[in-house]
């Protein structure tokens, strides 16, 4: 029997290289950005993490941004300000 052909309904995801910036050797004196995703307690959790980074790891300061909502990437203003004003960023989820 000859049979027949069927077509593949799937798509191979396009592969793209992702390059991470080097992680800082130390957080001493560094400015830390905190990106809050709007979920309950995510601001509380991130603030706590920020406090630990300052008291235990010597970070100089923290500042927090709030995303528009939890399902979207950080908006341009956050990215622009983070590029200019902080050395490292912590992004978290509050589920």
């Amino acid at each position: 029997m000859a049979g027949f052909e069927i077509l593949d309904p799937t798509v191979e995801p396009r592969r793209q290289p992702l390059t991470y910036v080097p992680r800082p050797d130390s957080l001493k004196g560094k400015r830390i950005g905190l990106v809050e995703n709007t979920k309950f307690n995510s601001n509380t959790l991130l603030q706590k993490i920020g406090d630990i980074l300052k008291t235990e790891y010597g970070a100089a300061e923290t500042r927090m941004w709030r995303k528009h909502n939890s399902s979207v990437p950080a908006h341009d203003e956050i990215i622009d300000e983070a590029k200019r004003g902080v050395d490292a960023v912590v992004a978290g989820i509050g589920d």
């Binding site: 049979g3 069927i6 077509l7 593949d8 309904p9 399902s71």
Partner: protein, 350 residues
């Protein structure tokens, strides 16, 4: 328009017979759990011809997945879902809708809250292609309703990668994830059709997609006034699932539709009444752990609406003529995260 001639570029697999093809699709993880129709070149071309799209035409681009959804892949999945070729323009319009940034694919596609894609078909195409807008509205039995929604879900799974348990992390999900397609009963409705309210012309056909939870039915066989029927609805829908002020869809079936219309109420009147009568106090939302924080005295008199504006409530006339039942459907999460989107169903063959 002549039939498509461009080559179909999808990988091909040879199978011995129909049974083996069905099992092969299962083995590859291409199905929603039900058997699919094996997609052949002839059946896929018939679907593409019906919509007037070249195979490599891009229907949508899903940004967060970096996936281009092409007509060929949509057609393959539509065949697998059991669609007639004539359904393809509706599938395409629905895919355009869920790829719209306002719908925000990433959230409803992945969220633990488990949203499905509610699709509401309006305009002449609904009756022409046999979409059910009456009895057993959300139930099985109509090929158009069953297969169009299934095709969209198969595209989400096979093309966009929204695999249950992996990218689709719905904690519970709901049966609407198989298919969740209704049409508005425009023939009997006394009201402006949904797509016209949302900016389309009456003679156009359109599909509205809403990231949606399951339908919640309510019962009122005592009231003979619009306010009476809708008071029961408001009392039922007042307790929100996520309290995030999403879109809501209210589906009013035959008896309730006639009762409300007999009082001369328009859809705008219905939306206004629901908006004003489905609020909850912040105190209640806090006591029932729908909102964070401790109850303060002012919370007793601070009322939170179910939605941000009355226009966030989609009112649809549909469902059986008999029975004192209607329903509401909460949207997913919040309107800030996902908005219902109405897309015109285009005829590209002319």
């Amino acid at each position: 328009m002549p039939p498509m001639t461009a080559t179909l570029t999808s990988q091909r697999y040879r199978v011995d017979d129909f049974d083996q093809a069905i099992e092969f699709c299962y083995e590859r993880g291409w199905t929603d759990g039900l058997p699919v129709v094996p997609p052949t070149e002839a059946s896929v071309r018939a679907v593409l011809d019906a919509v007037g799209l070249e195979p490599d035409a891009q229907i949508a681009f899903i940004t967060n997945r970096q996936v281009a959804v092409t007509a060929e892949k949509v057609a393959i999945n539509a065949v697998m879902a059991g669609c007639l070729p004539a359904y393809m323009p509706i599938v395409v319009a629905a895919i355009e809708g869920i790829a719209d940034p306002r719908w925000g694919y990433h959230g409803p596609g992945t969220s633990t809250a488990g949203a499905a894609v509610l699709m509401i078909v309006n305009g002449p195409i609904a009756a022409r292609l046999g979409f059910n807008s009456g009895d057993n509205l959300f139930g099985p039995g109509w090929r158009a309703n069953a297969t169009v929604g299934r095709a969209v879900r198969l595209v989400m799974r096979n093309v966009i990668g929204t695999l249950p348990g992996r990218l689709d992390r719905g904690t519970l999900g709901h049966p609407g994830k198989y298919s969740y397609v209704i049409a508005e009963n425009e023939a009997e409705s006394p009201w402006t059709p949904l797509h016209v309210e949302r900016g389309c012309r009456a003679e156009e056909s359109a599909v509205t997609v809403m990231a949606a939870m399951a339908p919640h039915q309510f019962y009122n066989q005592l009231s003979n006034t619009a306010a009476g029927v809708l008071t029961t609805l408001c009392d039922t829908m007042r307790n929100p699932g996520m309290a995030g002020q999403p879109n809501y869809c209210v589906v009013l079936a035959g008896e309730h539709m006639r009762t409300i219309a007999a009082d001369g109420w328009s859809k705008a009147d219905i939306r206004k009444f629901i908006f004003e009568n489905s609020t909850s106090s912040m105190a209640h939302l806090k006591r029932t752990a729908r909102a964070p924080g401790s109850v303060k005295p002012e919370d007793e008199t601070t009322m939170r609406p179910l939605v941000m504006t009355p226009d966030d409530i989609l009112v649809v006339a549909a469902g059986g003529r008999a029975g004192s039942f209607s329903c509401y459907i909460p949207g997913w999460a919040s309107r800030a995260s996902s908005q219902a989107v109405t897309t015109v169903i285009k005829d590209r063959r002319v």
